[in-house]
Amino acid sequence: MFHAGRAPRLLRAGNEEERLRPLLVTPVEGKDLGGVLVRQWSDGVMALLCARAPERTRAVARSKATAIGVDPEVLWDDALDHVRAEPVELRTAAAGAPGPAITHVTGDGGFGTGHLLRLRELVAGPAPHGVLVGILTSPGLFVFHTVVRRLWAQAMVETFQKLGPDRSRLCPQRPGARGPKAGETCQPRRVFGVLIRIDSVTKRYPDGTVAVDRLSLEIPDRSITVLVGPSGCGKTTTLRMINRMVEPSEGTILIDGVDSRQQPVNTLRRSMGYVIQNAGLFQHRTILDNIATVPRMLGWGKEKSRARARELMERVGLDGALAKRYPYQLSGGQQQRVGVARALAADPPVLLMDEPFSAVDPVVRKGLQDELLRIQEELGKTIVFVTHDIDEAVKLGTMVAVMRTGGHLAQYAPPAELLSHPADAFVEDFLGADRGIRRLSFFSSAGLELLTEPIVAVDATAERIAAAGSGEAPYLLVTDPDGKPLGWGEPGDLTAGEIEAGRLLPYGRPFAAGTDSLRAALDCAVLSPTGWAVAVDAEGRVAGVVSQQVIGEAIRGAHAERSADGKVEQVAP
């Protein structure tokens, strides 16, 4: 990886004379930002380094970067005045992946906005080849992280826009560079590095019961992997083997490439957050002290731990006034939030969740699930999530592992693929009878052709009603003067000036045009006595109406499209 004898150059901050070399920023799946897909704003290597003294930082940075296989042409050595002494966290990119041309190394999780702005100038400046950047910072390093990420994403978007459609210019141009040569198209690389690899692991109990049978699983970095299956399928045992609460009888578990048995068991456990059903809070400690447990054990000191705990309470959506309360004073949902905060307290890269939401009522559960997705979006943890609820698995999982009784893996796939191509009868059965309907959640309603013609305002004139009634729709949707739906009426029954809202047919629950899935649209049409669904915009005004037939056609169209590019679904292992 690193070629001996070619030490990376060091760039000083603000030295704009230096030409930044182009480098690889692979568009990857994820959020669409101004025409560029940016999932994790950094591709390749992320390194967070630290040292007390600036001189040391530079040396450490270089040695660390090279040690983890980054082969940067330039090491950007900056933000030294802000360097904080934090534990070093290193991440390696997927093996063999080319590193970025520039590696920015900093120990400061929130390295100053000023630096970012300088970088952006460089990015948006006249550099012929554009830009950077594989950068740095530990995921989830405190508050600045989100800001930093956002700024970087913006910088990248601007760069892409500047470059125009010619993405090939983003490929490394220098001779012998890794990756595609000039002119070739950049192929998206794997999005995630593998963080946890379960390698033919078996758990056999002394009485001969086999809980897990030669299970192999690659759990991708920074994503939610859900283990789902009926009771007794060994999903919890599998989870507990990751932090060695259960020792495997055979096989190995590699965490970031290292056998989990190589470090002391309690060190391993403290590097993984654990969330359990019913939260399992320490009832004799206040909420704040519950959350601060692991930081205290790691020797952070009382004040720092508590400050961190307060920060986390906010992050998981808990009122700060609860800090001094005891667990019994909280509702089940609040307790579970505390459980999540406690697991995140020491900023572990891995989060293990054992049926965390199954003991709370459905409304609270939905809230907690949404919260988890939001937290994951912000912090980018590697989450392993155990549940027996397939709906939860499909909703949360980036990857879903369906397990069957006896500890066998039945299927391991992204949820959309699981629903479209169940591997066998067991998986199909486990997914339930309505998997076709459920799969519709993955299709957007954006492509639906909405009719605006059969919509009349409550104060419409007779001509307008007559004109609207002449269309294909057997019913007309009546709206109030603001454009909000009131109900359906037959054209013949509607008399100008005398439309009574009370006599109209109900319109069911409208769906948000474009943002809701086809499932929501279909649900809406099925709920409506007229068989027509009402689409509304963000303000709740009617955007149009659509019939069951049209939705049905859209579904068929979506299926056809999916099977055409079915290979895309099967990228992941």
Binding site: N243, M245, V265, N266, T267, L268, R269, R270, M272, Y274, I276, Q277, N278, A279, G280, L281, F282, Q283, H284, R285, T286, T293, V294, M297, D319, L322, R325, Y326, P327, Y328, Q329, L330, S331, G333, Q334, G339, R342, L352, V364, G367
Partner: protein
């Protein structure tokens, strides 16, 4: 007033001296019993099959009359307070061991699993999680043990001068002085009630995390807020 508390000279003590002596003879054995019961109980928690035989042994020990204990112990410890305190310590085990075992076992499984998963070693887990959560149960056991110990100390009268308020009772009977009998009986009862009250206070102080009638009220609006979210 001072005449009320006048003591016969053979007791060689003032009334409050006797009370202090009584208290010491009652509470030291319970403390010793607690120190003995903690490891025994922990052993019973860890080695499950040990619990029934241990319980059986403590019950049998409890069934031995104190007089029998004294007969045996006098050969070793003489006519001293220690001879009274040893049986009392042994008796306290019958309450304390089950109280601690039940208390430690009552710690919810998920709390223990969470502690283990957070990297608590066995010792840390016992001291920082199990024992604090078992505290209310242990204190409940202590209350019973202390009160029964306070009443049992009087038996020490049998071996001479080691019965504290029990000796006062004896003197009252010998000298036909109801005043002394009343002082002894009422004094013992008040002592037992006070010790119990102190332990209740201790529990309230140590376990602010226990649900209590009064504090429930403040939590209700929060729960409602949560539901409204």
């Amino acid at each position: 007033m001072s005449e009320l508390f006048d003591m016969p000279s053979d007791l060689q003590n003032t009334y409050f001296g006797l009370v202090a002596l009584h208290l010491r003879e009652a509470l030291l054995p319970v403390l010793a019993g607690l120190l003995l019961a903690l490891p025994v109980a922990q052993l019973c928690v860890r080695v499950r099959w040990l619990y029934p035989p241990v319980l059986w042994v403590t019950t049998v020990l409890y069934a031995i009359p104190s007089l029998a204990f004294f007969v045996v112990l006098i050969d070793y410890t003489g006519l001293s307070e220690l001879t009274v305190m040893i049986p009392l310590a042994v008796y306290s085990l019958v309450v304390l061991v089950p109280a601690i075992v039940d208390g430690v076992r009552s710690v919810p499984q998920e709390t223990l699993a969470a502690a283990t998963a957070m990297g608590f070693g066995p010792v840390r887990r016992y001291l920082q999680v199990q024992l604090p959560i078992a505290a209310p149960a242990i204190i409940a056991g202590l209350r019973v043990a202390c009160v029964s110990s306070v009443s049992l100390v009087s038996v020490g009268m049998l071996i001479g001068n080691a019965g504290a308020l029990g000796n006062l009772l004896n003197s009252g009977m010998i000298y036909h002085q109801p005043r002394l009998i009343w002082l002894s009986v009422v004094g013992t009862a008040v002592l037992a009630i006070l010790v119990d009250a102190v332990l209740i206070g201790l529990r309230v102080l140590l376990t602010p995390w226990m649900p209590r009638g009064g504090t429930r009220e403040n939590t209700r609006p929060l729960a409602v807020k949560e539901a409204a979210r």
